[in-house]
Structure formats: structure tokens, C-alpha cells
Symmetry: C2
Subunit: 197 residues, 2 copies
Amino acid sequence: MTQPTEIERLIEMMAKLPGLGPRSARRAVLHLVARREGQLAPLARQMQQVADTARACVRCGNIGTAELCPICADGRRANGQICVVETVADLWAMERAGVFRGRYHVLGGTLSALDAVGPEELRIPDLIGRIAEEEVSEVILALPATVDGQTTAHYIADRLEDRVTLTSLAQGVPIGGELDFLDDGTITAALNARKPL
Amino acid sequence: MTQPTEIERLIEMMAKLPGLGPRSARRAVLHLVARREGQLAPLARQMQQVADTARACVRCGNIGTAELCPICADGRRANGQICVVETVADLWAMERAGVFRGRYHVLGGTLSALDAVGPEELRIPDLIGRIAEEEVSEVILALPATVDGQTTAHYIADRLEDRVTLTSLAQGVPIGGELDFLDDGTITAALNARKPL
């Protein structure tokens, strides 16, 4: 073998990251090995740091370093609204838009008969518990527009409909989107939900 | 901020790797944080391990964990031939082909007037020293077919031409390559170097 085993093993581990394959992992590792002091060692330390401190928020499922994540711990955010998302990445995307000032609930997935994912695997009981405890008036379902996502949204709506106002994100033409590049389903949804000017 | 600072900093560091940007770094970090025990902690340890042990081979410039890299330390490889490559990645590519059984010399770059890279920056004096010490009979120049790569090849050839046999990798149609997708320069080179059947 040409590459010493330690480096080979690092390449194999990097190649398992989403978006990287064997070739790009090799490139990234060579880049790092050529910058041992400046990049590789600090990156290793930072990863260890995150591995030691990162944990899921006990209330919403977001990632944080304490029992409550920064959003749940933030007293300035409104308590009455909970936005339900599938993943932490979706939560971050909502936060980048910066317009929602309530709380979140991360399901950690969607219901899926094929993968045998039921409500108990998804923190849905936790969500129902929060509705009772936190005086929630509105639950915004920001779940993916896939079959599983919409199944999950309907399931949650069934369980909560007589207790809170339920809303979901609007579907339609994305800002900057050209009709010619949109799929038929999106155009149909946008037409059905058309608004008076 | 939504992401705790530690995780944010890790994302920033990952985004500096070649082939990753802010978006894919975020995805990779979320993937790792969701697998703290199984992937993140082992990856951090492996990186630290490589940061502590990896070093350049004093003879050829390849990466290894000892003073001599596995290739230079391997007594079964032929001493008479040295294959000169630009980077460690190029050396690995040559080794994957698996046909060359001699030694290597990694320049670490190519001569470049624009970037003020001269022979001293490139381990060229080391190469000339090795020719004298190691009873080398052939130097194979496997440098990139770019202007800087060919300038470097000519410079090395000038310095060594009366001491060893100099060869370079053949240029022509890649195996499996279709003429229609090849650039004019490659087709010209392949035609000029045509061989009797």
C-alpha cells in the first residue's frame, strides 16, 4: 500500500460523509495533511469538542450544548407558536429566513410504513405533551411536501385538531422561480391557491 | 444565533475543505452530530492521530509516518528508476495503476514565474542529489501537461540530460476516450505520436 494505514483509514471515514466520495475524501485529506498545524489539528480538536458537548435539546430536539437549546432557552421568543419540522437542518433553514419568532419541535423523521417508523419513533408524543404544558395556540406544520411528510402532517393534525389552530407552509411558485422550470404539481398547487391582487 | 458557536465553528472549518462549501459542510456536520459516538468521535480521534504522526518522507516527499515513506523503505522496489510527480495525489494515482515498481520524487508544485516558484521551492536540488547518490539510470517525468508542468519538465531535463536517461509519460487518446470529446491538442499529440500497427 502507498498511503500509510492511518491516512487510509481517515480517507475511508471522510468518504462516508454525505456529499463526499472516495475521490473527494482523498483530496480533502491530502489538503489537510499538507496543512497539519494550521487546519488538520484545529479541525480534529473542534470535532472532539463538538463530540464532547453537542446534545439534543430535551424540549424541542434541536442541537445545543445544554439541556435546553439556545432557542428554547431564549425568553424573548414567543411561546404560543410551535413550528414542527422534520430535521435540525430544516430548523436552521427556517431560522435563516429569520421571520419566525416562536418555538420549534424537531420530529427527527417522518412516518414511514416502509421503514417501520411510527409516531413513537418521531417525538410526536413529546409534541402532544408540549401542547398541554406550554399554552400553545398555533402549530405550524413545516414538513416536506413528500408523501411521507404529508402523511405525518395529517397524522399530527388528526391528533391535535380540537386543541390548537393548525397551519402549514403555503405551497406555490418559489420566489425567483420560472414557471417553465417548475413541475406540474407545484403549478397546480399555486393555481389552486391563487390570491386576489 | 441558532447553531451553538462550537458547531458553527466546526461548519466554518469544514467549509474550507476542497470540494465542500457552506451548504455541504452544514450537511456533513449535521450528519456527524447525529452520529456522535459512531462517527464524529472516531473521526476526531483519527484526525488527531494523523495530525500527530503524518510527515513528509525525507527522501521522496511522499507522506508517511516514519522518516522514510513505505515506498522508499520497501527493499523490493527497483532503485534505478525515479518517477518525478508534482503532488502526493499524483504519486497515489501512479500507484493505483500499479505498474511502476521504482521510486518516486514529489516536487510539491511546478515552476511558476507568476507565483514566484523557483527550483529551490520545489525539491529539485534534492532530486539532483538523489541522481548522484542512488545510481539512477532513468528519470520518468510524470508532470502535468500544462504550461507550468512542461516548463518544469524542461528545466529538470536541462539539468539532468547528460547524467541519466530522461523519459516522460506518453500523450495521446485516453483508454475508453472518444475522439469527439477530445480537445484539439490531444488529438494533434496522438496523431504526431502515431505508432505502426
